[in-house]
Structure formats: C-alpha cells, structure tokens
Chain length 471, copies 2
C-alpha cells in the first residue's frame, strides 16, 4: 500500500487535534545511529507525553497512511530507529514519557514508561532494595521501550534472561491506534494469545510500547567477580558447568575474552588496567551474586580450586575490593570501545548452540584467514552462546581499505553461523541491517506467518516500514 | 466460514494419502475431560507418527474445511481438548510422537516430541543429571505438547517459570499445513516475531506443536522441605520475601494451605499423614533446592528463626528424611483429590497481584458467605499469586444441590478477581470453559488483535474452533 510523507498538512492535522506542544523541529540526532551505516530522513518529530497522545498520533498516521518510526534512546546497532527510504516518516520519540509509574517491592514489580532510561529503571529498583537485572553497555542512554522492542540482552542474561523474560505486561498503541492496557503485574495469566511477547522483539513494526510492568529480583547480598585464564573455549564451557554445579543460579555473568580484545585495549586504550601481565589467549570474566552469609571470594576460590584440579583454569584474579571489581569489569566493558577505535571490517552479533562453540571458533578462524589477513576479536556472553564475532583489518591498516570486503566477510560468517544452527541476530535485533539475512536464513513457514501477522495487525504497513520485514 | 464434518469421504482421502495406519476408531476417552463438564463429539481420530503426517492431516483438513482438535494427554481442566458443537472434528492425538529426540547436557537442552509424557521428559532429564522443572499433579499422564499449548504452571513456577519460560524452540504445523522448523537450542535469537510464544498458550487454535526444545537446569544437590504455620496470608507473603532474601532463588516451592483443605483431607482422605495435631488456619509448604555444600535443614531452620523473631511463623515441621518430605508433599498434592471427592460448587484458577492477596481473601470470604453457607478452600501457588479458589457446599450437603448456583458463584468470584486486576485464567488456560470470561474481562484492543491474528494464520478457522475465542 502506498504511504504518504509526514508533511506540513499532516502536521497541521496533528496540531489541530493534539495541540502545538507535541511536535518539535527534527534535529540531526534522530537521523543517526551509532555505527553510521544508515542515514535516516524525517518528516515530523513528535514527543508525546501520554499514551493517549501516542494513540492520537498513530490514529492520524493510520488515517493519512503516514509511516511511523518509534524512537527510544537511538542506541540500536541495526538501524531499526532510522528510516532512509520511502516517504519521510513521523518519528515518535518516547523521551518525554520517562516516569517510573509505580514500584511494588512486595510483588517484585516496577512499572516504567517506555522512555525511561535503563539506568534510571535500575536505580529506581535499587531505591526499593531490589534489582532490575537488565544491564548493557548503552544503559546510560538507551530507553526501556527500545530494550523491549528489540528484546535486548546484555551481561546478565545467563541468570535473569533477556528483556523478554523481564517483562510481565505492556501498555502499547497498536497500529490501528487502539491502546492495549496490558500492564499486568501477574506472574501467571493465561488469558489468550501472548500479545506481550509478540510486541517484544517486533522492533516497532507491530505497535509502540508506551509502558511496561517489569520483574524485579532480590538484590544479591554480596557480589564476587573474577577473571580466570582458561586453556580453550571448551574449558570455558566446562568451567561454567562446574561453577553452576557448585553455586547454582548465582552465576550471573560468564563472559569469554580473547587475547585480541586485550591487545586492542593495549593498543588504543592503554589506561585500562589489565589483570594479567601477559594477555592470555582465552579468559573469562565470571560474576556471582550471593545470598546473605555466603562469601563471594570463598565461593570463587572454591570454583577455581575444583577447576584447576580438572585442568580447566591456569591462572586467575579474584577481586578483593570494589575497585578491583570495577577494574575487571572495565576490561570487558571497554573492549567494544576499543573495537570501534580500531574499526572493524565487519561485526557480527551471533549465537551458536553452546556445545558447538569451540568448533565454530576453530572453523571460523580458518574461514576468515582464507579470506584475508584479518584479525578476529571473538568475545562475549559465552553462557548464552552469544558471541560478538568481529573481523578487523591487519595491524597498521584501516577499515576504509576494506569497505568492499564487508559484504563478503559478513556473508561468509553468517553462512557459517547458519550451518551451525546458530542465529545471525542474537541480541541486537534485525532492524534494517539484517532484513536480507532474515529472508535468506529464516524458516519459510515462520516468515509466511510473520508476514500474515504484520498484514493483520498493520494492514496499511505504517509501523516502522522496512524494519524486520522487507517492504 | 462454514466447516464440514470429518466424515467417511474425508477419511478415505486421508487413507489414500497417508495410508491406513494413521487413523484409528475413536474411543470414549477422547470425548471426556476430567471434570465432566463437556461432552465432546468426534468425526475421526488420527494418531500421526511424524511431523510430516501431522502436516498431511492438517493440509487435508484445510482443503476440506474440516475442524481439527489437537489432543495431548486429555488432562486439561477447561475443555480445550473436546469439541462439543459444530461439525464432528478430526482429533489429532500426539500419543505416538513420544520420542526424546536428543539431550544436550552441556547446553542444558532436551528435545522432546509433543506426545512425550511430562514425567518421561523429567526422567530423561534426570538420566542426564539435569532437572526439567515443570511439575504438576497430572505429570504421569499429561503430554509436553499440551503443557506448552496451555502454558502450564505447577509447583515450580516461582523459581523456574511457566511452561513458556522453559521452552527454547518449537516444531509445529501451522493451520495452512506448513511445517515450522523452529527447534532452536539458542538462548538468544532475535530473528523476527516471537512465533514460539504465540503458539505457546494458544491452546491449539493457531497450529499443532509437534516437538519442543526445552530448557534443563542443574539438579539441586540437596532439597529441603518444610511446612510452617503462619498467622495470616500477609505473614506468608512476608515470609516468602524473607526467605528469598536469605536463600535467593533457591526457594522453588511456596504453597499456601488453608485449614479447609486439611479438614477435607481428614474428612475424605484420612490416611494422609498431617504434620500438625490441630490444623492451622494458614500454613505454607516451602521447598529449597540448594547447591552442593549447603544444608537444607540448616537453611530452613535459619529462615524459621528469622521469621519467628518477626512473628511470621508460629510452628513448623522441617522434613528430616525423604519419607517426611514425601509426607509433607502428600498434604499439598492430595488436596485437589479431596476437593474432587467433596465436590465443589465452583472452582476457580485465578491470579492476583501478590500484595493484594490478603485483601482479596478477606473480601472473597465476605462475598461468598453473602451468597450462601459455602465452605471455601483457598490454596495454591502463593509465590506466583496463583490461587485455587474453590467454593464447596456446607458440610453434609452435596454439589448436586447447588448446580444452579455454579454460574452466579463463578461470576461473583471472577468479578472480584477482575476488580483486583487479577486473572480468571492463571494456569489452566481458557479452553472452552472461559471463552465468555475472556470476552467479558479481556482488554478490547487485545481481543481485536487476537481475532486479527487468528484470522491471519487460520483464515478457515479449522484449528480447535470454539477454544479461546468464540466462533
């Protein structure tokens, strides 16, 4: 169906209905995304303050066949927040809907509006002596609505799940402008189809999330962090199983780090304090969150001892202070920044069945080295089977020299991932970057069902056109 | 759209395509359900052995506009498995697709066909030194496909989640006969709309689940079970919070028990060994699953001590042997049987925001006693906010005398649940029993979306017609 641009006449209709204050002049930042792979365009920028205003905007867009791009923190890495082609869209930014509407500590529930910054949601939980576990590098600027729309992951998925798993209910505006009042605080509610999970991960193509009921957790009484050297990815996987046998679900983080990442830090971020004199080929960052009365350093020490007796670790550092903890975390958290400074040929957010990861890493290395003299930084959320598998130019050369190689490298990596029954979109979403991948690797029956659902809920195709599904 | 019965001509078409062996004469048991509230009828019974046979059956049904009723263990309590009205359906029972296709202990994943009995799935996990935590009274006869189609709950939801939370991927036949090959073993996979969660809980109205990739967990090294007397439901809720502060996620069961349930046991199941001389008004069954090196009885003792100092418990029994554990569990698990023997006027599977439960229980008691001289047995999964709220005739009288009161009692209880922002369908599903409730209490925007999705995926309306959504 043909769409129309969000032009002056459309703006007048909105002003007449919703007042002058809901629209704003568009600025550059709504047209950019962190990796600068997409340049958006924009017809109109709206900053609604209530779900009713969001519904009003969507009703107008539906009536006028104007495309709508929901906008959170703008931190997405797959271009889901910028529309480059077709009629200039109405961008609906949630930045004025930032309230924490309620906290129910007894129920371990918090209700936040979609525009709330993730860090603020975490802080609000903290103030109620609770934990909201979603944690990722962009948490100072990403917004919870975007986290849900993309089913964000992060460093605590191992213990607490993805954004999807942390949501009990939603308030949302559907593509026809109807408001779904679904802010359930219930842990069990089987009343019909799971619209919540359908909107989560749909990246704004089936509606706009305006608020969410989120799950909180008890705050661990004590947190322990360590970095262990492991002889191989196999050993890392066995170490995780061993740790879980010993300390159960308290393992909240288990991140694999490759020497390449540590060398990148040395190269471009030399102020980052590294735990080992000589960067080990493989190491893991492990964190435990324990109940009262348990000692994290003793628990980590015990894990290390058992692992050492099985040859699963060769050296290790257990943080003895908050400062040491934060040093260890800095190693993991600043690797993406180092990656950006080095400049990748191609970056991949992939997941692989956990037991196949060692094979994948070996075959991937062979495959990439056959393509050229690249450096690979393979790191990430090993416990979830989610790797960030990034391919870089050789030392002394730059990504600009390899622009024409991005496509072939990406294709080769994604083909390998697919051959391993993996996913080419683990935690960042499909956005506009991976629309073709979804067509290529997706299950045909599922794609047919997705298209049918999209057509049923958004028959005019106004919601974030071009994201997830090819227009 | 008009549907046709699964008649002899239709049977011939199936035999010609799929052979003689896939069809069976229908027997009574496919027409019954445990509470005898629905009498089904049946045109044809099919017992497919492969997903391809299921797809063949659905393609024929789609072409001939014949209704299809997917059939698992037949243990559902809301009539989702029996179709009473309209043209006689094709019943597709999964009882010959019972294979455990694979177990991946390293990945904590098990792949089971839909017809696998829940207890067999649990046993297969056990054999791999893992836990599949879904556990409910019918586990000896219910099948995993039905558990997923209804998003079953049970006694371990508090720690491990509903059936939905325990599933990573599905293989399913969609209403057009296409096979969705979605048996992902991945923990993170954001490749398009969440078809998995859409089929889970759809009660066979959007397709037939034929196999599932299920999450496994480490087996707790030691399990501790106790029953504590609590002065009130408020105290029970505070006790749960206290226990979680002390022992974190290891609290796997937290069941509220009312004196009425214990008195029913005394009345009709006197062989059940009860832990307290005088049945307390309120008590809780609590279970911890701990890692190696922790003592369950010490942990429970510590919880009891702290709780006692805050006035949250007044007496308690901590199981000191496997026999004592099983005695405590028997008290909880045989209450439903006692309920059946007594015979309820009306039973309700409800959930309430946890902090509102004490108020709900008080107002519910007032409301029910205003309706008549009923006895209430209110018990269940307090940690999930899920109560089984069952209303019984006074001592010495029988449900048969109150048949005409079932409707008004149910309506009054459900109205109250709705006023408390609760759900009238917590863990048993909607089936055919609660179709009207869904229309009455459901969010209109969500209902519209559900109807649009149903029409999009099943335009001929062949899949389990009359369940979940009114035809």
């Amino acid at each position: 169906m043909d769409l129309n641009p969000a032009d002056d006449r459309f703006a007048d209709l909105i002003r007449a209905d919703l007042g002058d204050d809901v629209l704003r002049p568009a600025t550059e930042r709504y047209l950019e995304e962190p990796r600068n792979r997409f340049a958006g365009h924009i017809g109109l920028l709206a900053l609604p303050r209530t779900v009713e205003e969001v519904a009003g905007l969507v009703r107008h867009a539906s009536a006028a066949h104007v495309p709508v791009v929901p906008y959170g923190g703008g931190t997405g890495l797959v271009g889901g927040q910028v529309m480059a082609h077709g009629p200039a869209p109405l961008v609906v930014s949630m930045e004025r809907m930032t309230a924490i509407r309620a906290v129910y500590p007894t129920e371990n529930v918090l209700i936040a509006e979609a525009g709330a910054i993730l860090a603020d949601v975490r802080a609000a939980a903290d103030s109620a002596d609770r934990l909201f576990p979603l944690s990722l590098a962009a948490q100072g600027s990403c917004r919870i609505g975007g986290n849900l729309a993309t089913n964000a992951g992060g460093v605590n998925v191992l213990r607490y799940g993805n954004a999807r798993d942390l949501c009990l209910g939603l308030e949302a505006v559907l593509p026809n402008g109807e408001i779904w009042h679904g802010l359930s605080r219930l842990r069990k509610d089987n009343t019909g189809y799971d619209l919540r999970n359908l909107l989560i991960g749909a990246e704004g193509t089936l509606g706009i999330i305006t608020a969410a009921a989120l799950k909180l957790f008890p705050r661990p009484a004590a947190v322990g962090t360590a970095m262990f050297q492991v002889p191989s990815p196999e050993a890392a996987i066995e170490l995780l199983a061993l740790a879980r046998d010993q300390v159960g679900e308290t393992v909240s983080t288990f991140e694999l780090i490759h020497r390449q990442g540590l060398e990148f830090l040395t190269e471009v971020l030399p102020d980052v304090r590294q735990p080992f004199e000589v960067p080990p080929e493989w190491s893991v960052l492990i964190e435990l969150g324990l109940s009262a009365g348990q000692s994290p350093s003793e628990a980590l020490e015990a894990v290390y001892q058992s692992a050492e007796s099985q040859g699963l670790v060769s050296d290790g550092v257990i943080a003895q202070s908050e400062a040491q903890r934060s040093d260890l975390w800095a190693v993991r958290e600043r690797i993406p920044e180092a990656n950006r400074l080095i400049g990748s040929v191609s970056s991949h957010d992939i997941s692989i069945p956990i037991s196949l990861i060692p094979d994948f890493i070996r075959q991937g290395a062979d495959m990439v080295s056959a393509l050229g003299p690249y450096r690979i930084n393979c790191f990430g959320h090993l416990g979830d089977g989610n790797l960030h598998y990034n391919v870089f130019p050789p030392l002394g050369r730059y990504r600009a020299d390899f622009e024409d190689q991005r496509g072939p490298v990406k294709r080769a990596v994604h083909d390998l991932v697919h051959a391993f029954n993996g996913s080419v979109s683990a935690e960042h979403g499909v956005g506009r970057l991976k629309v073709d991948d979804l067509q290529r690797y997706g299950d045909p029956a599922k794609l047919h069902a997705m298209r049918a659902i999209k057509a049923a809920l958004d028959p005019k195709g106004i919601m974030n056109p071009g994201a997830v599904l090819k227009v």
